[in-house]
């Protein structure tokens, strides 16, 4: 009938931990080593299944076949591990592999023809256990040698590998505890009558492997998991262990003391439950610590890194736009140079041609150089470097780069600059990026064309928190701020969206990153300035960049 003894429970634990792990590696692992490792995990799962079935089996006649299945799985466990270790450590070991697989095939064959497990016996009045032949002893020795060698190879590789691999492999080395526990199962087959409690150590191996995969991307498996998934998995695992312990405790009471009481079982379950409650919290805290939680300085460092990544991403987008503009701008001088070069051999004696050649080709080559220099300056990943910058020049250059886009989008550009030069102490590359972001947004807001107005003006600050008095003619020497205003006649932004407009990743565009205005705001803050947006739906949007001159 049904005999749920501790050995069967340990088998059940192996089943519930290894089967999901096998499926996980099989579906997520893309490399050859992952595929071989999944076979190793499958072999352990099959052992667990065999152990469970043997544990609950009360029929001595079918015991032999169940043991054959279980022992076949056991034979293959270190073989696939060894193969995976060879692949992991990038070693060529053809001869070793042939030997390892050959011995496995030999022992499996001998197992199939009943040369390995000739019979069984009832171990400690609990389980029908196999009795091993002399060949069984050799197979145990081979098993131990292969498993130990695989771990020694891992240890040798650990000493010389990269830090990331070190973290992955250390978990696998510690997982040897599962092998030590599993090796305990060989003893009853050799006639040593001890209960195979070591089988409970086997699932530790699966937990360490799972940890190495999730935390350190063992087998190159990258899995982004959510807290909820981990907590649910933990809850299932802890509940399984809890259930196993309750059942095991009940069986021990019944088996060893022949004591039957439902009340005792309930009380036992209650106390085990009390013990498990803090354990669950403790395990959850550990998961938090190792997978999710960061110290404040780590969070700050991570945020800084993310901000830099975001800024670089936006900059790359801006550089791409500029590069596209550059490729267009470069075509004019390139056309002139190639045409003049083509005619040069036929006109070597034409003095007028040679004069034009020298002038036009020289000028056009200089233009190309200037264009490339501009892009190069912009692409440099440098810290903000304020310098005296002619803002009108910067705006004109940026608009020139985008000319082809204006034509394509049927956008008319109106410049309304103050008559004198507007010189500000800013980082020209950052301000160009800010302006570019704003203009690109304006273009997106005018899919059917429109008018883009770029304006510069002075603003006199009347009082904090109030509006400005703008004056295009007043002198710079007053306590003022300088304003660049970009106005479009696009679709506009509704009031609800206007509140979130500077939030990173806020976007209404299908292909937008939602980072453009967040980055622009960051640039303005770095310059001690500010950005304001005024918008009316179906009328248009004005973006105001204000630089305090104090």
């Amino acid at each position: 009938m049904f005999n749920l003894n501790p050995f069967a429970i340990s088998g059940l634990l192996i089943i519930v931990t290894y089967f999901p792990l096998f499926l996980f590696i099989l579906t997520k692992g893309k490399t050859k080593v992952a595929r071989i490792f999944s076979l190793h995990i499958l072999a352990v799962f099959c052992w667990g299944l065999g152990a469970f079935l043997n544990g609950i089996n009360t029929n001595p006649d079918i015991s032999i076949n169940l043991w054959k299945f279980a022992y076949a799985s056991v034979t293959l466990i270190p073989v696939f591990l060894y193969h995976a270790v060879i692949l992991m450590t990038r070693r060529k070991a053809l001869l070793e592999m042939i030997l390892i697989y050959s011995q496995a095939i030999y022992f499996l064959f001998m197992l199939a023809i009943d040369k390995m497990i000739p019979g069984n016996y009832y171990l400690l009045n609990s389980i029908y256990w196999m009795t091993g032949s002399s060949l069984y002893i050799y197979s145990c020795i081979a098993w131990g040698i292969i498993a130990s060698t695989a771990h020694l190879k891992l240890l040798a590789y650990y000493k010389k590998c990269y830090p990331k691999e070190k973290r992955q492999i250390s978990a696998l080395i510690f997982a040897i505890i599962g092998f030590v526990g599993g090796a305990n199962n060989f003893l009853p087959g050799l006639g040593i009558k001890i209960y195979p409690y070591g089988n409970f150590l086997v699932p530790i191996h699966s937990m360490l492997v799972t940890y190495a995969i999730l935390k350190h991307q063992l087998l190159d498996i990258h899995f982004v998991f959510k807290k909820g998934i981990i907590y649910t998995a933990l809850l299932i695992l802890i509940s399984s262990i809890y259930l196993s312990l309750v059942l095991g405790f009940e069986k021990i009471l019944q088996g060893h003391f022949n004591y039957h009481s439902t009340l005792t079982s309930i009380i036992a379950a209650f106390f085990i439950g009390i013990l498990f409650f803090p354990l669950r919290n403790r395990v959850q805290a550990l998961v938090d610590k190792y997978f999710f939680k960061r110290s404040p300085s780590e969070i700050a460092a991570e945020n800084l890194m993310l901000r830099r990544e975001v800024a670089e991403k936006e900059k790359f987008k801006a550089v791409s736009t500029l590069a596209s503009g550059l490729s267009h701008e470069i075509k004019n001088p390139l056309t002139a140079i190639t045409t003049f070069a083509e005619f040069l051999p036929d006109k070597l004696n034409d003095k007028e041609f040679l004069r034009k050649f020298a002038r036009i080709v020289g000028n056009e080559a200089g233009r190309i150089n200037n264009l490339v220099e501009q892009l190069n300056d912009f692409a440099k990943p440098a810290a903000p470097k304020p310098e005296k910058t002619n803002i009108h020049q910067l705006l004109n250059d940026t608009l020139d780069f985008l000319n082809s886009k204006f034509i394509h989008n049927r956008v008319e550009v109106v410049k309304n600059f103050i008559p004198e030069d507007l010189i500000l102490n800013v980082d020209p590359n950052l301000i160009r990026q800010a302006v570019l972001n704003i203009i690109l947004n304006a273009l997106d807001a005018m899919p059917s064309g429109g008018t883009l107005t770029i304006e510069t003006k002075w603003a006199k600050i009347i009082a904090p928190g109030t509006d400005h008095q703008t004056d295009q003619r007043s002198s710079v020497s007053k306590k003022q701020s300088a304003i660049i205003c970009v106005r479009d006649t696009g679709v506009g932004i509704n009031k609800k969206d206007l509140k979130n407009i500077f939030d990173p990743f806020f976007t209404k565009k299908d292909e937008g990153t939602g980072l453009g205005l967040a980055v622009t705001q960051g640039i303005m803050e770095d310059h001690g300035g500010q950005i304001k947006i005024e918008s009316t739906v179906e009328v248009g949007t004005s973006v105001i960049l204000e630089f305090d001159l104090k």
Binding site: T335, F343, E364
Partner: protein, 138 residues
Amino acid sequence: MSTNSTSSNNSNISPKKQVLVIDDEEGIRESLKLILADEFPMILTNDGEQGLDCLANNHQNIGIVLLDIKMPNDNGLHVLEEIKTKYPDLKVIIITGYKSVETANEAVRLGAAGYIVKPFKSDEILATVRKNLTENAR
């Protein structure tokens, strides 16, 4: 505006028909002159306004217009529209560095006879101008 009145030796092409270039880039104007001036009389202009003035005074002698799209003060497509409104039979070839299907379609819709992308080849320019002026002469 500069003119070059070199006459053509090609018997299929009317010697009076001129090539009008409208492009703000001196390098491009001079390049087109280098390619075409031995075969066709040419008028070089810097922008749409000059080009349209030239056409207003002399359109019966102009056989083809080579027009840039991107100019500082003009959108070449607007100039094209105006030319085709006033002189519907005049051939206009767009020469641009802006390679875009939409712009090409727009140019054709507005009546452009051709669309050449910079950097162009001299053979391509010569063949296009010859073909269009020959068709005009028939």
